[in-house]
């Protein structure tokens, strides 16, 4: 793909020089009786040559496009764009592993993303890793990414999707393959929650479980992000805040400031010991 850039750049420079050269020549030279030649030059240089060049570039570009959009990968990750967060499901031999708002992929392997949208068009983009791909309601689009470097690469929604669009991002963490396997195995486990846990009591009393799922408990709400291993994420609220107890606390009580106009209500009335218990319960979901 890097070749394409250089070929285009150098090709464009050469053609530009020829055109400008011809223009300068036409200004200077007196060429009344060269009309015949000029017409041939116009047809070959102005019509045939560009057609052939554009045709060749078209084929080349398409071949590259085909290469970067393969139909298979070493693993399949389904990502569903929601307003304004990401539902992420890893397909494994032991069944699907749902998470949200953070994507982890192993170094050097091709991850095939199968992209869908729940409500409106979103667009999935990790600029450092590759091109972007629209997520379209009712359709499944695909994008294959093969990360070459370890690190945390920011991703975002690249298609305006409503109020909190600008706050719809995610982290893409590229890990060593064996670390990744361990991480995925941990994500596949249900949460270990003591039903008597004070924080979990608040969670159910306030009805959080009607929107959020914590696998291994009675909370199986499908509306919001899966919180089973919530605290294992690097960031909160679709990749926008550091995962700290203070931020989680603000998220619950002051959502209108943290991420306005989203599909989760704010709970300013939760405070004191109840808030503390709820936050420390959420932070224990590793």
């Amino acid at each position: 793909m890097e070749h394409l850039f250089w070929v285009l750049l150098i090709g464009a420079a050469v053609i530009w020089c020829i055109v400008i050269g011809a223009a300068v020549y036409a200004q200077k030279a007196s060429v009344p009786d060269r009309e015949q030649q000029a017409r041939h030059f116009i047809v070959w240089g102005g019509a045939v040559f560009p057609t052939v060049v554009v045709g060749a570039l078209l084929v080349w570009g398409l071949v590259i496009l085909k290469d970067i959009t393969p139909n298979e990968g070493d693993r399949t990750i389904r990502v569903d764009g929601e307003r304004w967060w990401w539902r992420v499901v890893y397909d494994t031999d032991d069944g699907p592993v749902p998470t949200a708002n953070e994507i982890r992929i192993p170094l050097g392997e091709t991850a095939l993303f199968k992209l869908t949208a729940d409500d409106v068009i979103h667009s999935f983009w990790v600029p450092s890793l590759g091109g972007k791909m629209d997520m379209i309601p009712g359709r499944e689009t695909q994008l294959a990414l093969t990360p070459q470097k370890l690190g945390n690469w920011g991703g975002l929604c690249a298609e305006y999707c409503g109020g909190a669009h600008a706050l719809m991002r995610f982290d893409t963490v590229v890990m060593e393959p064996d670390e990744f396997d361990a991480w995925l195995a941990a994500q596949a486990q249900p949460a270990t929650v003591d039903p008597e846990d004070e924080g979990y009591q608040v969670f159910t009393e306030e009805g959080c479980g009607s929107c959020h799922t914590i696998r291994g408990t009675d909370s199986i709400g499908p509306v919001g992000p899966d919180l089973t291993h919530f605290a294992s994420r690097e960031r909160l609220g679709a990749g926008i805040y550091k995962m700290t107890p203070d931020n989680v606390s603000d998220w619950i009580t002051d959502l209108d400031n943290m991420k306005p106009d989203i599909d989760m209500p704010s709970y300013p009335h939760i405070n004191g010991a109840r808030l503390e218990a709820l936050v420390s319960f959420l932070m224990s979901l590793e």
Partner: protein
Amino acid sequence: MPELPEPPGDAPRVIDQGSIWILVASPSIWAAHFLISYWVAAVYCAKAPNAAPLMEPRWIAIGLGVFCCAVIAWLAWIAVKRYGGVFLIFEEITESSERGRDKFIGHVSLLLCVLSAVAIVFNIIPGLVLGEC
């Protein structure tokens, strides 16, 4: 008004005799090909499952393209034979005569034929290279 000289060819003469149909014919074929390609692709992609074999739409695309280009080649042939069209005009056609008009229409039609054929080929290439919905 001076009497017009007798035209030399057997090409249709004035507008109301349909003499300019050949001008619009090839771009119309291009437009039709464009539309039909979209229809065929949309229907195929909607009906066929995701992993459907890629050969069938390919053959449709090639067949349609070859057919359209053949019709355009035939039009180009008419433009050359009946209208006396040429690719390159070295002397400007300024003659206000049926002959001059025919030559001009033949020339323009020929160029439009080339343009339409190229456009159709460009339209087909992505389908052949990518071949997926």
